[in-house]
Point group: C2
Chain length 474, copies 2
C-alpha cells in the first residue's frame, strides 16, 4: 500500500504517553469484572461491566454513552459527533464479555485479578476484547490533543456488545432495531489481531461461527456394563461415532452440503499469505501444539484463515472420576463448533447438522440439539479506499510496512455489514501469543498504545482522504 | 435337574425367621460404611468395612475370622471347620467393596443411609455384594439350628475381598499366597443373580473383564478453536475416533485378534437360553433402555451372557459447563471396559488395545493407557455333581424348578478356579432390577432370606451327597 510510512505524530505519541498510566489503571479495574457471557450466573457481572464502560466513555468525553439492554447481556453505545458537518461517520465495534476462565485451567495468576508482568497485562479479556475496546478511549483523546480539536474529525460511534463469546445471539436483532442510531459510512472492528509485534498486519476477513450442544440420551439411568453391556446402545459411544463421522479421511468436513458456496482462495491471496514469514515450529509453539494437521491441499494459514472447519470443543458422558466404573452411561454431551467462510450460510449448516444427527443415531438414543447462535463470515475487498487509510494509520503508528492477514476467529462483523450496508474494516493489535480463550491471556502494552496511536491517526486520515460513496451506492 | 423339588426345611425356615430382624439391623450397619474401592479417598472406609465384617463373623460363631491386608484394600477370611473329619471343604466367595455412588446420580435416598421400603432394602452394596455375603451368616446359623449341629456339616470357609469393583488387582496374588489356607473342594461364589423372583436360576458362568483409562494429550493448554481450529489435531476428536473404531458395522469388536479362542455357544446352551421366559419389553425396562442393539447373529441373552464386548464407560474432554466455549481441548479421557468370555485371554486383549491405540493416533497426540486390572471369564460344566446339590438346595428354598443362566458381569471366580484348582459354582439371589452399579440399588428381602435357606440346605446336601474327586484329579 504505502512503501514509505509516514512518521508517527509526535503530539499523538505525547498524549498517549501522558495518559498511559491512568488508562491502564482504568483497564485493570474493568478486567476485574468477570463478564462471562457463557455462564448465566455471571449476568450481574455483565450488567456491571456495561455500566462501568458507559460511565468511562462519558468521562472520556463522549456526549452520548448508554447501556442498551437486550434479551441477553447488555451492550454499550456511545457517540461523539464531529464539529465538521461533512465528516464521515465511523462505527467502532468491540465486545465487553469474555470467555470463561478459572485459575485451575492453568493460570499463573487469577484471571480476574489483572497482573502486569514484563510489559504485559495478564487477565481474561486483556486482549479479547476489553483491552482493544478501551484502546479507543486513549485513541480519541490523542486524536483531539494532536489536532487541537474539541470534537473528533469523524462522527465517532462505538458499539460494544455483551454476547460475542456466546455467538452474539441477540446482536443481529439489536443492530437491526437500532440501525438508525448506528448509521455510519464504515464499521471498524477492533476484535482481531496482527501477525506479530514485528510484522504488523491488517486483517481483511473473519471466519463465521455456529456452535451447538448435542445431548444424547440412552438408558434412563447409568446401567451395569456387565449385566447389560453389548445389548443396548451406549450414548457415549454414539456421541463418539458422531464426532468420528464429522470428517472424512482427508480431514474434510463430511456434513452433507457443508462446502456448498464456499468462496475459494484466489491465487493472489494464496501468494500474499505465502509471503508472510511463517515458521511452522514457531506457529506450533504459539498454538501450544505438537503437530499440524488438517484439510488436504491447504497450508496451515489457509486452513485457519480461509477454510471452514468442524471442531469438538467438549465431550462428556459417563464416569469421569478416579479409577474405573463399569457403567453404560445414561447420557452424553457434545459441544461442536463450525467455522464458516465467505459463501457459507450458517442457517443451512445448522439445518444440515440437525438432519445429519437425526439420521445418524440408532433406535434407543434420543437427542436434543441447541445452537448457541450464528456469526456470519466476513471479507473486506483488498483494494477498498478506507482500508488504505487503516493501513496508512497503522504504518504511522508502527513505523513499518503493514501486510494483510485474515482472522480464523469469528465476530459479528458481518452483521454490521449486512444490517448497516457498510464496508467493514479491522483495526486490531493483538498477537497470536496473547492466548485468547486460553489460560494466561494477556495483552502487550506497547502494542496497545500503538493501537491507540493508529486510531488517533485514522480519524484524521479518514476525514481528510476518504469520501464515502453516496448513500445507497455501497 | 430335579422335577419334584423337596419341601424346604421347616427348622431352617423357623431359624431364618427368628433371626431376620437382627440380621437386617446388622446388614444396615455394614451398608452405612461407604467402602468404595475405586476412590483412594475411601481407603479408611474399606478398612472399617473389613474390620466390621470380621467382628460379625466371629460373633456368628466362626472360630477363625481375620482381616487380610493386601497392597490395596483388605480382604476378610473366616473358617468354621466341620466336626465330621471326612466332610468336604467349601470356600464361599464375596466382596465387601462397592461401586461409587452419590445421591446426585439420581438416588431417592442417600446411598449410604440404607432405607427399607416395600420389602426392599435400598443402599449401595445391598445386592452387590454385601447383602449376598452377609446372607451366609444367616444361612450357617439356620443350617446348625436345623441339623442340631454345633459345627457345619462341611468345612466352611469364607473369603470376602475388598477390590472386586476395581477389577480385583491384588486378588490373584492373594489367592496364590494363601492357597494353603483357602484349600477347598469347591468354591461357591455369592456375587451373582437369578432370572427373576418368579424364575429362580443358577448361574453357570461369568464374563471376564479388563478395563482401562486412556488419556490423550494434544495442545499443552486449551486453545482458541477459531485461531487454530482446522490446523492441529484435537484430542477430544481423536478420543471419539478411537471409540468409533472399536466396533465394526455389525457391532463386532474390531480390535485385532479380539475373538481369538472365544468358546462359542453350543446348540444345547442356545436352546436352554431360548426357553427362558424372555420378554424384550420387560428386559428393556430392567435395563432402563429404549432399544436392543448388539452383535449381529446373537439374541439379547446370548449377547450379555456369552459374547465378549467393548463398552465406553466414560468419556470426557474440553468444556463441559453451561453454554459454549470455542476451544480445542488440551486433553481428553476415555474409560473403556472389555467383557471377556471363556477362551479369551485378558493379557492378550490388553496388549491388543495398547498396540491398536498406538497405531491409531496421529502425530501431535500423546497418550497413556492404564489398565485397572483383569478378571478372567469362568464357566462351570452343566453336569457337575456339586452343581446338582446347588440346584436341589435352591429348589428346596424356592419351592420350584430351578433353571440355568449365565452372568454378564464379572467376578474373580476364575482366579479361585485357577489358583485352587477347584470347580466354581454360584449361589446368588439378586435379580436384574436390583440396579447393580446404578442409582437406587436394592435387594429384595424375601429373596435374601430364601438365599440363606438355600445355603443352609446346601451345606447338608453337599456333605451327604457329594464326594469330591481325590486331590489332583480335578
Amino acid at each position: 500500500m504505502s512503501s514509505s510510512p509516514a512518521a508517527p505524530d509526535d503530539a499523538v505519541r505525547a498524549c498517549v504517553e501522558e495518559r498511559r498510566a491512568a488508562f491502564l489503571d482504568d483497564l485493570v479495574e474493568w478486567l476485574r469484572i468477570p463478564s462471562v457471557s457463557a455462564d448465566p450466573s455471571h449476568a450481574d457481572d455483565l450488567a456491571r461491566s456495561a455500566a462501568w464502560l458507559a460511565d468511562k466513555l462519558a468521562g472520556t468525553g463522549f456526549p452520548v454513552a448508554e447501556v442498551w439492554e437486550t434479551p441477553g447481556a447488555p451492550a454499550v453505545f456511545a457517540e461523539w459527533p464531529s464539529d465538521d458537518p461533512g465528516a464521515p461517520t465511523v462505527l467502532v465495534y468491540g465486545h465487553h464479555d469474555v470467555q470463561p476462565a478459572v485459575i485451575a485451567d492453568g493460570w499463573h495468576s487469577d484471571p480476574f485479578a489483572p497482573e502486569e508482568r514484563d510489559g504485559r497485562l495478564y487477565a481474561r479479556g486483556a486482549a479479547d476484547d476489553k483491552g482493544q475496546v478501551f484502546m479507543h478511549t486513549l485513541g480519541v483523546r490523542a486524536h483531539l490533543a494532536a489536532t487541537g480539536r474539541s470534537a473528533p474529525a469523524v462522527n465517532l460511534k462505538l458499539l460494544v456488545e455483551g454476547e460475542e463469546e456466546s455467538g452474539s445471539p441477540h446482536f443481529p436483532d439489536l443492530v437491526r432495531k437500532t440501525a438508525d442510531r448506528l448509521r455510519c459510512d464504515v464499521a471498524i472492528v477492533s476484535d482481531t489481531g496482527m501477525w506479530s509485534a514485528e510484522t504488523p498486519t491488517v486483517c481483511t476477513g473473519m471466519r463465521g461461527l455456529t456452535d451447538c450442544q448435542i445431548d444424547l440420551y440412552g438408558p434412563d439411568q447409568d446401567i451395569h456394563s456387565g449385566s447389560f453391556g453389548g445389548a443396548v446402545p451406549n450414548p457415549a459411544a454414539e456421541a463418539a461415532r458422531l464426532v468420528a463421522r464429522l470428517h472424512d479421511e482427508n480431514h474434510r468436513v463430511a456434513l452433507p452440503g457443508f462446502y456448498d458456496g464456499v468462496v475459494e482462495l484466489s491465487e493472489e491471496e494464496r501468494q500474499l499469505f505465502a509471503e508472510l514469514p511463517f515458521d511452522e515450529e514457531t506457529w506450533l509453539r504459539t498454538a501450544h501444539s505438537h503437530a499440524v494437521s488438517g484439510e488436504s491441499g491447504y497450508t496451515t494459514l489457509e486452513r485457519i484463515w480461509a477454510r471452514p472447519t468442524a471442531e469438538v470443543n467438549g465431550i462428556g458422558g459417563g464416569y469421569q472420576g478416579p479409577g474405573g466404573k463399569t457403567v453404560i452411561p445414561s447420557s452424553a454431551q457434545l459441544k461442536l463448533s463450525f467455522r464458516l467462510v465467505a459463501g457459507q450460510d450458517a442457517e443451512k449448516v445448522q439445518q444440515s447438522v440437525r438432519e445429519w444427527v437425526s439420521q445418524s443415531l440408532p433406535d434407543g438414543i434420543r437427542h436434543e440439539i441447541t445452537f448457541w447462535g450464528a456469526t456470519r463470515p466476513c471479507l473486506t475487498p483488498l483494494g477498498h479506499p478506507a482500508l488504505r487509510a487503516v493501513v496508512r494509520s497503522m504504518e504511522r503508528a508502527f513505523g513499518k510496512r503493514v501486510r494483510f492477514t485474515r482472522e480464523g476467529g469469528s465476530g459479528p462483523a458481518a452483521d454490521l455489514q449486512d444490517a448497516l450496508e457498510v464496508p467493514v474494516l479491522f483495526l486490531g493489535i493483538s498477537v497470536p501469543s496473547d492466548g485468547w480463550h486460553s489460560p494466561n491471556e494477556k495483552v502487550e502494552l506497547e502494542l496497545l498504545t500503538k493501537g491507540a496511536e493508529a486510531a488517533a491517526c485514522l480519524w484524521s486520515d479518514l476525514a481528510e482522504n476518504w469520501r464515502p460513496e453516496p448513500e445507497g451506492a455501497v
